[in-house]
Symmetry: C2
Subunit: 159 residues, 2 copies
């Protein structure tokens, strides 16, 4: 039995209460007291995080999965994280049943926490909560999402 | 109103189907085809991950949180991840209501993925699922957990 990749690999994005600001230059670390700017910076500078969904297989238990994502071209984040998921993986299957999700990021992988422990409040942490939704194919958003993802994750383009 | 720290900062551990092997030397990366050894190595070598719980505040949505953890002295992992959590933080409050949790780790922070994308199958990922339970105070396990945590996260000792 043969399936076309399009049925399995789909673009998803997370809608939350995170305000967007397309085209903002996110290269320099914001003032830690500016929570919104720090959150946008974390999303823009990180290229992976943990996406948590409600597990179908585990009867409603929480299930976190390491995922690569992008919210725009390098250093030009839009604030909406996009993912390239496959329904061969439980995360995508879970979200098609229950779209509630959270994306969790740490400043630690960016390398700007110095010697501070990842749990130290000076090493920023972010949990975005919202709904993980399919991007509609053949739309401007789908083009933007693909471009955002492929520019930061070249390996995805070949998949 | 004043509270003693002991009411707020507690040791938790995750019980899952992850078999333990106390005292194993986990310094070298195992054969990727050996899933169990790779999982133990990831737990032993990582010092932070994302702990996902069912959110009380968000009406049952999944909530991932960056947490520091330890499963033993450096390079001597026991396979059980221990955490030092506070009920000032939603993760601990959530787990006292519903103990189902998952701990998600990536090989990426260890630095052994080279240029591979964190979502590339050659860059290991691990999701441990189980119950997040309080360690009983004044027991051998509590001593072990404190020693495991403080040896890898010196900042915790001062908290």
């Amino acid at each position: 039995m043969k399936f076309k990749g399009v049925y399995y690999i789909c673009l998803f994005f997370l809608i939350g209460s995170f305000e967007t600001s397309i085209g903002v230059d996110d290269t320099s670390k914001p003032d830690p007291l500016d929570g919104v700017a720090t959150a946008r910076w974390l999303v823009s500078q990180n290229n992976w995080g943990v996406l948590s969904t409600i597990s179908i297989e585990l009867g409603g238990a929480p299930f976190g999965n390491v995922v690569s994502f992008s919210d725009g071209l390098p250093d030009k984040g839009c604030g909406i994280p996009y993912f390239y998921l496959t329904t061969l993986d439980p995360t995508a299957r879970n979200t098609l049943k229950d779209e509630r999700a959270s994306l969790t990021l740490s400043e630690s992988p960016i390398g700007s926490c110095g010697k501070a422990d990842p749990e130290n409040p000076t090493c920023a942490k972010l949990t975005l909560t919202g709904k993980l939704t399919l991007v509609t194919e053949n739309t401007t958003e789908a083009e933007f999402a693909a471009s955002a993802l492929f520019s930061k994750h070249a390996e995805m383009k070949a998949s």
